[in-house]
Structures are given as structure tokens and as C-alpha cells.
């Protein structure tokens, strides 16, 4: 459990002259769910997008410090960004199924990774949908459009789509912010099962969600890390007053 999978040291992210993340130090342990909480614009999503280098797409992006994943600094010049992004699957706040069938949505990532052959794709699609907790609901209509699913189903479809790429890490950016309680519960159930095989980072606006599923929780504020620790400690005995204030709803 103490195996550190992602090690962040003195990491800062700039977009042009604007600094969004300020000298973060944070460890993510293998096969844990790390919850990241904090008010809007505190840098939670920026941090996720730094991990898979999605921030590179933003003009004027610049970083300082290091992020080491599985012993490699991912901002080294010779890092294969495509491979990095396959290793760290990301689920966004708004589910974005592609305007294609359910099958194609899940097969998409696998196809891009070079997987061919109907039988193998079938197996990957089924396995991914099962892990994403959606298989039972869609197994008879894989050819219908992904856009026809409900919001919660779409989000699980996006989760399954990530899994089809065979990542080692799953990054979730407020995955249940637009979902009803039942759908939220289903996603949380899937995450608990997935923890066995993946390392999961869950950014959430819902502190209760972090309390429910995260093994450890980190509290971000204004682009900096206030504190991180076992979820129970953070929620019952926060070290920092600001954490306490946030959890009690005094700001944010």
C-alpha cells in the first residue's frame, strides 16, 4: 500500500503569466483512490490535466518542478505523450460520448491503440463495459447511439471507453457533478471495484463523495495543496484551519 506511483514535487503550472498551480508536493499511492477536494478554481482540474499533459494543448502552458509517474519524470523531453495519455485514462465532468454507437465509443480507444479484429474488439468492449458497470444495461443494444443513453449511462460509457485503452491510472474530473444519486452510486461502486487494478484520482466538488470512496484525500486551495492524508483524518481531524472551514461550508 505504501508504494508511491505518482510523486509530485514542487510542481507549478503556468498559462502565460497566470499561475494556476503553486509548488505542489503530493504522493499518490498505487491502488488507492485519492480524492481531491477544494473550491472552484482551486486548481484541481488543472492538476489532473497536468498529469496526462492535457495542459500542453493550452497556449502558453509552462511548468516547473517534477511529476514522476512510475519512476519517470513525465515532463522530460523524450516522453511519449500519446503513451502517457493512454496510461492515464481521464473521465470528464460532462460525459462526452462520441456521436457513434455504444460499441464504437468503447472500441474507439482500443482501435487507436492498434487493436484489430472483431472478436478481440468484442471481448475488449464487453470487458470494459462490465468493469464500467454498464454491460447489463446495454448488452442488447450496442449498436444504438451513445448519445441516446441517459447522463449516468453516458458517464459510465466514458469510463468504459477509458478502460478499453487499458490504462493503469484513472483520472476523474468531477465525474458525477451532473448526475442523480442513483447514477452517482453506481459510478462510486464501479470505482471501489476498479481500485483493485487501477490507481484512481478523483476530483470532486462533493466532499461527501470523497468521504465515501477516497482512501486518502487532498485539499486544494488557490492552486496550492493545503493538506493531504487518510480520508478519515482529513474529515475528522484536519490539521489546517482552512480545511476545517471548507468542510464545514464556511467558504467555497
Amino acid at each position: 500500500m505504501t508504494d508511491v506511483a505518482i510523486r509530485v514535487r514542487g510542481f507549478s503550472q503556468f498559462f502565460g503569466a497566470v499561475q494556476k498551480l503553486n509548488a505542489l508536493d503530493l504522493d499518490v499511492r498505487r491502488n488507492e483512490i485519492l480524492g481531491i477536494i477544494g473550491p472552484a478554481r482551486s486548481g484541481k482540474s488543472t492538476f489532473l490535466c497536468a498529469l496526462n499533459r492535457l495542459n500542453d494543448l493550452v497556449r502558453g502552458s509552462r511548468v516547473e518542478g517534477t511529476i514522476t509517474i512510475d519512476g519517470r519524470d513525465i515532463y522530460e523531453p523524450d516522453v511519449d505523450v500519446i503513451e502517457l495519455r493512454r496510461k492515464l485514462g481521464m473521465v470528464f465532468a460532462t460525459p462526452v460520448p462520441l456521436p457513434r454507437s455504444i460499441f464504437e465509443n468503447v472500441a474507439f480507444g482500443a482501435r487507436m491503440a492498434g487493436l484489430k479484429g472483431r472478436a478481440r474488439l468484442d471481448a475488449v468492449v464487453r470487458d470494459s463495459l462490465e468493469r464500467g458497470g454498464l454491460w447489463e444495461e446495454v448488452k442488447d443494444r450496442l449498436e444504438t447511439s451513445g448519445l441516446k443513453l441517459s447522463g449516468g449511462q453516458q458517464q459510465r460509457l466514458c469510463l468504459a471507453r477509458i478502460l478499453a485503452v487499458k490504462p493503469e491510472y484513472i483520472l476523474l474530473d468531477e465525474p458525477t457533478s451532473g448526475l442523480d444519486p442513483i447514477s452517482t452510486m453506481k459510478i462510486e461502486d464501479s470505482l471501489r471495484k476498479l481500485k483493485k487494478d487501477y490507481t484512481i484520482i478523483l476530483v470532486t466538488n462533493n466532499t461527501k463523495q470523497a468521504a465515501r470512496v477516497a482512501d486518502r484525500t487532498a485539499f486544494f486551495l488557490n492552486g496550492g495543496l493545503v493538506e493531504a492524508g487518510p480520508t478519515a483524518d482529513i474529515f475528522t481531524a484536519p490539521q489546517d484551519k482552512r480545511t476545517d472551514d471548507y468542510l464545514r461550508g464556511r467558504f467555497g
Binding site: 494543448l57 500519446i82 481521464m90 462526452v96 462520441l98 456521436p99 474507439f108
Partner: protein, 296 residues
């Protein structure tokens, strides 16, 4: 009393609203009625002669000797289709490639400069395109490949260039209209930019891209001046890409000034055929695009 005024005021507003709606309806209909008038006029002028000489010999006849009352439109039909197809073969790949480069592989500043320039291409009069074709392209083809130079190939190239602005600007618009979340989602999955274009953006923007091709095709098939200048205008079925060709539009424009009687009617009939071909192509293209859109 107060209530009464209020009611009257409301009635006046409602009446104004009805008037405005009526006026807009009349304006909208006047645009449609122009199409109606043109259709009725062409059909009325053009169809009698088609039936007089027989639809089959009119459409499938290979000879066009108006002075001897032989009216076979087949060479012009084939000519229009060849030249249009040629223009699409040249214009579509170039146009789409350009649209992709502009939206996905170039900075905002480059796009801000290039796109208006491309759109400016659409403003150049077709006679100028024809002129450039005659001066530069036709001699080049004559010297390099042989033949008269005035040919299917020359017309296809010039029309291909002429439809570029249509294809590029509409395709760029529809590619840019794809929600950014599609792009991010795909790239987060580890897709390269090209894979994202091919597997996500293109399918998502497909209806707009098809519309751009339809409009480009309409422009190519309807273009007259440039084709007259560079296609050679021989009223016979072209045996090769280097042979001269006459399109339906050229046929009308070349002879209308001196045609009388049945010859004149035959030119109207040419217009009818052109009209039908454009309608059919448009309908087919629209149907394919909307069917594909429904079926993801």
C-alpha cells in the same frame, strides 16, 4: 378605465405583430416565387420540343446539329458530368486538406490570415479564372500532354480551384463547430491529432462537410464563363481527359444569342435537363447526408 387602455394597447401590439409577420411572409414568398417563375418558364419553353423529337433521341442522341434540326444532348450531359466530377476530384481533397490544416494544425493567427484570403478567391470573377486558364493552363497542357489543351482536364482543374473557397470555408466552419470536449476527450484517450481528426472530428462534422461539397458541386456544374473559355466546347463526347468538351451551360450561353425557333426551344430544353440534374444531385446528396446523420 385603466384596464380598457391596457387592452387596447395590447390589441394594437397584436395587430402590429400580425402585420410584421405578414410582411415577412410576403418577402419570403417572393424569393420562392422567383424560383417558381423560372421553373415554369423554362419548362414551358423547353419541354414541347423534347416530346416533339422524342425524349430518347433528345437525351441519348449523340449529335447536336441545330441547323439541321438534330438535337442530341448526350455529349453535353456527359460533358457536364465529367467536368463536375473532375472538379470534385481536384477540389474536394485539396479543400478538405486545407480545412483540416487550418482548423487543427495551425495557430489562430495563421487561420485569421489565411481564411479571409481563401474566401477572397470566391470573389474573383469567373472570367478571370477562365482567362488565367487560357493563358497559363491550356498552353501548359497542350505542350506537356498534347491535344488541343482546351480540354476536360483544363476545365476540371480550373473549376476545382474555383470551388475551393466554398469547400474550405464551410468545412472549416463545421469543423470548428465540433464541441471542444470531443477533441479533448479523444486526445485524453491517447489519440494523436490525426486520429482525432479522422475518427472524431470528421464524423462529427460530416453533415457540414457534405453540404460544402454539395455547394461546391453546384458551383462547378453551373459555372459557364470559365468553362466556355477553357473546355474547348466541341459538341461531342470526350474520348479522353485531353479532349475538348462542351457542358450544358456552355451550350446555352454559346448559342442563345443567335438561336431562333426550335433551336431556341432546344436550348431551353437544355436548361430543363440542367435543372433536373442539379435537383437530382442535390436530393441524392442531401438524402445521403441526412441518413448518415441519423444513423451514428
Amino acid at each position: 378605465m385603466a384596464m380598457k387602455t391596457k387592452k387596447r394597447g395590447k390589441n394594437r401590439l397584436e395587430r402590429n405583430d400580425r402585420l410584421v409577420r405578414l410582411a415577412l411572409l410576403v418577402i419570403a414568398f417572393s424569393a420562392v416565387s422567383v424560383l417558381l417563375v423560372i421553373t415554369v418558364f423554362i419548362v414551358q419553353q423547353g419541354t414541347p420540343i423534347m416530346f416533339k423529337y422524342g425524349l430518347k433521341s433528345f437525351l441519348a442522341g449523340g449529335n447536336w446539329y441545330p441547323s439541321e434540326k438534330v438535337f442530341g444532348l448526350w455529349p453535353m450531359i456527359v460533358g457536364s458530368l465529367f467536368v463536375t466530377a473532375g472538379a470534385l476530384v481536384i477540389g474536394v481533397p485539396f479543400g478538405l486538406a486545407c480545412a483540416i490544416v487550418l482548423t487543427e494544425f495551425s495557430s489562430k493567427n495563421v487561420r485569421r490570415v489565411i481564411k479571409p484570403i481563401v474566401e477572397l478567391l470566391a470573389g474573383i470573377p469567373s472570367v478571370v479564372y477562365g482567362f488565367m486558364g487560357v493563358i497559363i493552363l491550356v498552353p501548359f497542357i497542350r505542350q506537356t500532354f498534347g491535344g488541343p489543351g482546351l480540354s476536360v482536364l483544363a476545365a476540371s482543374i480550373v473549376l476545382g480551384i474555383m470551388i475551393l473557397p466554398t469547400i474550405i470555408s464551410i468545412s472549416v466552419d463545421s469543423l470548428q463547430a465540433v464541441p471542444p470536449s470531443y477533441r479533448e476527450g479523444s486526445i485524453a484517450l491517447g489519440a494523436t491529432r490525426w486520429q482525432t481528426v479522422k475518427m472524431v472530428l470528421f464524423p462529427a462534422a460530416r453533415s457540414g462537410i457534405i453540404a460544402s461539397i454539395i455547394l461546391g458541386m453546384g458551383r462547378a456544374i453551373g459555372e459557364t464563363m470559365a468553362t466556355i473559355m477553357i473546355a474547348g466546347n466541341a459538341a461531342e463526347i470526350p474520348r479522353s481527359l485531353l479532349a475538348p468538351v462542351r457542358t450544358l451551360t456552355s451550350n446555352i450561353a454559346l448559342e442563345m444569342s443567335y438561336a431562333t425557333g426550335e433551336h431556341r426551344e432546344a436550348l431551353f430544353a437544355t436548361g430543363v435537363i440542367l435543372f433536373i440534374i442539379i435537383m437530382v444531385l442535390n436530393t441524392v446528396a442531401n438524402a445521403t447526408s441526412s441518413r448518415r446523420r441519423r444513423q451514428p
